[in-house]
Amino acid sequence: MSVRQDVRHGLRIGRAEFVRSLRGYLGNPRRVLGLLLTALFFGGALLFALPTAYVLGQTARSVAAVPFFAPAATLVPLGLLSVSVFRTLERLGHIDGADFVLLAVHPRAVVIGLITAEVGRLSLWFGIPIGAVVVTFALGMGSPLLVALGGAVTLPLVCCAAVWGYAGGIAVLRLLRKLPNLRRLLKGVGILAMVGLVVASQFAGQFIVESDLSVQRLLSTVAFDPLVEYVALAFVGTPVSRPTSLGAVAVLAALIALTPVGLAVSTKQVSTLWFTDSVGNNESTQVRRSSGGFSAPQPFAWTKPSRIAWGILVRGRRDPAELSHLLIAVFFIAPFGTMFLEFSGDALGPLITGGGVVLATYLSGATFGLNPLGDDRPQLPFLLLTETSSAALVRGRLLAGVAVGVPIAVLSSFVSILFGITVLEAVATAAVGVVMCLAASMFAVGIGSAYPIYEEREFWGTETVVPSTLVMMVYLFVVGGGTVLGLFVTWFAVTGNVVLTPVFGVLFGTYLLLTGGISYGSYRYALRRHRRYTLA
């Protein structure tokens, strides 16, 4: 009785959580626009993939002939397990409205609900394209039965991976709660590991291309036969079906048996996590003190905007989790990491100075400038009623970003002297870097003001107000592209390789005009938005 009741409650919770997510996605017109753009981008790729899937279905003569079938059949369940662990760590470790839900139903129902909702969300994002590819493949093969059997084979796999991944994720959360120092360490290590992973992926790709290694042969080493046999059950009744093996049946039996066990383990784990308090260093009870009052050091003490900038810097330093959005740059900058290792001698100096200036300009705007109204939202009722002008407030935020970026631009330029660039080249790139930092910061406050985000959301395990992803992407491409162009021109100019032609003059003039004009216009726009801001 209680199992049936928990399943019923769980499905109800799952439905409610899924509906809440759906309303969250569709509740904001800007989010809908973002979703449409995403759908347009990936929909195009899907349209190209479907004919290929159809042809593959037509030409497949055996299961083994399906490209990458064996490694995929092994790696996909592992991937599902990893996703489940990751999503539990990130989102499913708690339920909203816990004070009410945990007093109304058994924790097992909550676990079922959270997992059901997550499967629903993932199906919404990935189920439609994967389903479309499978259906097209099945049609190409002339066996629509494959779709039904594919679903039947996938279901136990997904259920088992979901509950055991959940149990694993909760176990990690419990461990992190017991060892808060480990949590802090893992955050740092996690960022480094992610950068390493992105860089390593570049090497791996290059290695595969340059060596004689066959991808097919490489992947075949990871195939786990019983799992491959099990997934091949989806092809029963199709022209390529093969005899059902004992291994496949054993895997099916194991999946069916392990799912309730995983659910029981998960329930036990969450009950401990939710109904006991943390032991050891409880961060919430730690009292942190700051002595000496608020006094900005030189040169921040000079003007009001610079004192405001100092306040922003101090807050950022004390709560670095608020800056977690900066990590998005890792995905764009890390791939270039291999270049630093490939180049040596003369090229390393320019690369270090160039990389430093690009990073500096990125940080100048992105650190504090991409969501000025959203970041200040809780304080705006106070800030807007002070004697301090909007200009001072915006300039303060702008200067805080510049204070982060400029030292990096200057330092990287002068460090590069050790790697072979001349003092003149270092001074020139540093000077250009400083100007670029200012321009990037001015641009950031403008686009950030155009698209403010006020709601907190979970980002890299931290509940914080994060700038819009669209704004971050636009900023990255505009500032990244602009900085690289400017650096190239600077480099060619100081090395005497620029030929002053009318075409160059027009192009360079346009570049300067766009850089200056867009940055200044953006800054003016931020001022105007700030001055006319009314609380919603």
Binding site: I13, A16, R23, A98, F100, V101, A104, H106, F275
Partner: protein, 258 residues
Amino acid sequence: MPSTHDESAILATDLRKTYSSEVALDSLTLDIPHGTVYGFLGPNGAGKTTTMRLLTGLSDPDSGSVRVCGVDPSDRRAIAGRVGYLPETPPLYDEFSAREQLEYVADLRDISRSVARERIGEYLDQFGLAGDADRRIDGYSKGMKQKTAFIQSVLHEPDVLYLDEPTSGLDPRAARTIRESIIAFADAGTTVFLSTHILPVVEAVADKVGVLFDGRLVTEGTPAEVQARAETGESGSLEDAFLAVTSEPETDAASRRE
């Protein structure tokens, strides 16, 4: 329906709770009969919310025991139908309308659809939310959210109702509605454990008052007894008594220093 058995509605014995080296609650013993409105007072950080969490089973004590209507709160299935809890931050889903929220709650509470519909309709009328019942909660005022959360906590007619600052931030009309509801529930036999800083509310509805200070219950009794014990004089109010009993350690410390 409220329980009619003989055990105390809430029986807590020697509860102790620590966070790291900080003692949040020490030797707390409570024995609250059925149908009582128990006003639970204490300054900020005294341990009131911790107590509520221990009494609902949402948190485990380091030592001591709790029985609610004879049930150990750690028995989640047994406790679920007996208690209602309104925490200080209303546990509502902004993406739902009040009606959706309450129907969802009723579903999880296993209240039949027809009964749920009838109760929800009555409560929405009683709390003046009927006209806004289909609006999403993210557009509600603080008072509307609080009223919705209050209905949510009583929808299954619990034996024991825990209320953490139920009238905080409400306009006088909304506060009165909740105050009257507390009295009505107590008259029907529900035990109400009411934690609030608004002392006139406690004076108006509480049968018994307990004052928590620094994790310890420093005084307990009827409002009149507490006032008398605090020696605040005939004109003294519950507020005077509260201030008197929650400043004693400081006075003691001062006298010790002298």
